[in-house]
């Protein structure tokens, strides 16, 4: 069900920034600017992450689920999308992981990784003015 909630959030953001307006850099609206409501509750315990997987400062995990062979870990980070994006990009090499591809747009960003006998993606979405959602998909190598 968390996946569905994430999908709805993504849909809302896409709908909010599409709108037939100019796309690409500089032409659209600002990122999500609404004030943040209460933060989701942190999960009890720690999620199952690959060996040495980095957790940048300020990240709170809220849940995890299995999807067949893969695992999806969800959470959030207080602060901007830009900061979260840069935090993951720098944390992976420090942890011995490789960033295979990264991309940042206005309201969302992805950092794809390889390491710890796994591959996957950290998907970041600016949920509101000062919070960025984090969804980590982890696949066995």
């Amino acid at each position: 069900m968390r996946g569905l909630v994430l999908a709805i959030v993504v849909l809302g953001l896409v709908a909010g920034c599409g709108g037939g307006g100019d796309e690409g850099s500089g032409g659209g609206e600002e990122g999500a600017t609404e004030a943040c409501g209460a933060a989701p509750a942190a999960m009890s315990g720690q999620p199952q992450l690959p060996d040495g997987f980095p957790t940048p400062d300020g990240v709170t995990y809220t849940g995890e689920e299995e999807a067949g062979p893969s695992r999806i870990v969800e959470g959030y980070r207080e602060g901007s999308l830009e900061d979260a994006f840069e935090a993951y990009k720098s944390a992976f090499p420090d942890a011995g992981y490789t960033v295979t591809k990264d991309e940042k747009e206005e309201d969302d960003a992805e950092v794809n990784f390889e390491g710890g006998s796994s591959t996957g993606q950290v998907k970041l979405i600016q949920e509101c003015s000062d919070r960025t959602s984090v969804a980590i998909t982890i696949r066995p190598e």
Binding site: A7, V14, E66, A67, G68, P69, S70, T98, E110
Partner: protein, 396 residues
């Protein structure tokens, strides 16, 4: 040595030299695949226009070579491309396990824009091989992530073509840790028209879904075998399920295709469908709509979106950026180095580019699922990514 157009080869300032870009694809045996790759390349060349570098101005010209899905033909074509001094090869993927070395010896970049086989691309051991197309690994894992949580007992059917064998290997990994989800694994003879025995075997094994990783004709034959016996088992496929040939082969039984779900790379980016729509309009403006040859129940003509053409188009634009950055297209090492550094905005708005550790242009998480109904497909609504994607217009 580069191919220089007769009469334009001098070093006079202002002359425009020509670089040959070879398309190695199955024009005779799989015309849809061959044409879509070549058209994407041609459109990309047109979009790239004149390429001004520190060492002069260049234009790309396209040369089509038919690999007939034969590794031997494909290898011979790469030899020819090397002998002719091609600047790059855009390849469907057949025979690359051998042909990449020939290209490597000639320092020619080889870009796969169709096949997704896991071993074909390795930035470390095959530094001249690049790919912009969904990988088999990505498709196989996304299928496992989508199907296993549904609690289905999946019959994994692969044909004995190279495409099917690559799929079999990819699915072995993605379903390997969940054996309880697999009812049976069967290999289908690609030449067999009647697949009733295999489909019956899957049914008897208790399958509640068929996952068919095979060429389009085999997928149509599996559908025929199942539906003609009124077995309405859900059927899932990789991108080959969306090949027009499946619908053409079953044109007189359109309801047999209803419900088929295939996995493929998303056509539109997070920013929305506008960039894709511009690319599609550009493609149709040049080639006309790619007619599938079937109609909906209401009589509308069905067309195929230029999905795989987009990947070839994007590679040409990455190549053009690399040629500019290299400064001298004759410096082949510099061109290969530049291909690891440049990034361009792709046809759908996503970034396309490579780096030293990754030569894959499409990430696994960009694989989505779509379901057929009335000869057209739309993204499913029970997958988080797919449910956010718009339906691409397929009617004319």
């Amino acid at each position: 040595m580069l191919v220089v157009a007769a009469g334009c080869g001098g070093s006079d300032p202002g002359t425009v030299q020509t670089l040959t870009l070879v398309v190695n694809a199955p024009f005779s045996t799989s015309p849809y695949v061959g044409e879509t790759i070549a058209r994407g390349v041609e459109l990309g060349v047109s979009s790239a226009g004149q390429i001004d570098t520190d060492n002069g101005s260049y234009r790309l010209q396209v040369r089509r070579l038919d690999n007939a899905l034969s590794p031997r033909e494909a290898i011979a074509n790469v030899r020819r491309a090397a002998a002719d001094g091609a600047v790059a090869i855009v390849d469907e993927g057949t025979g690359v396990d051998a042909s990449w070395r020939i290209a490597q010896d000639a320092k020619i970049p080889l870009a796969i824009t169709y096949q997704g086989g896991s071993g074909l691309v390795d930035a470390e051991t095959r530094p001249n091989v690049f790919r912009i197309a969904p990988t088999d690994r990505g498709i196989a894992f996304r299928l496992a992530e989508y199907l296993i949580p549904k609690g289905l007992r999946v019959a994994i059917l692969t044909d004995d073509s190279g495409y099917g064998e690559e799929g079999r290997a990819a699915l072995a990994k993605s379903f390997g840790s969940n054996p309880e989800s697999v009812a049976i694994r069967l290999r289908l003879p690609v030449a067999a028209q009647d697949l009733s025995p295999q489909v019956l075997q899957a049914r008897r094994a208790g399958a509640s879904a068929l996952l068919v990783w095979a060429r389009p004709a085999t997928i149509a034959n599996v559908l025929t075998a199942a539906r003609s016996r009124r077995w309405n088992v859900p059927l899932y496929t990789p991108p080959s399920g969306a090949d027009p040939l499946v619908r053409q082969q079953l044109a007189d039984q359109p309801d047999w295709i209803d419900g088929l779900v295939f996995a493929s790379g998303r056509m539109t980016a997070e920013l929305g469908p506008q960039a894709w729509e511009r690319f599609e309009a550009q493609f149709e403006g040049r080639y006309g709509p790619d007619r599938v040859g079937v109609r909906t129940a209401e009589g509308d003509e069905v067309v195929q979106p230029p999905e795989y053409a987009m990947y070839s188009y994007d590679f040409v634009n990455v190549l053009a950026a690399a040629l500019r950055q290299a400064g001298d297209p004759k410096d082949r090492e510099a061109v290969l180095d530049a291909l690891n550094q440049v990034t361009v905005r792709g046809a759908n708005g996503d970034e396309r580019g490579f780096n030293l550790s990754n030569h894959e242009g499409v990430v696994d998480d960009d694989v989505y699922f779509a379901r057929f109904r009335d000869m057209t497909f739309s993204p499913v609504n029970d997958d988080p990514l797919s449910s956010t994607l718009p339906m691409i217009n397929q009617l004319r």
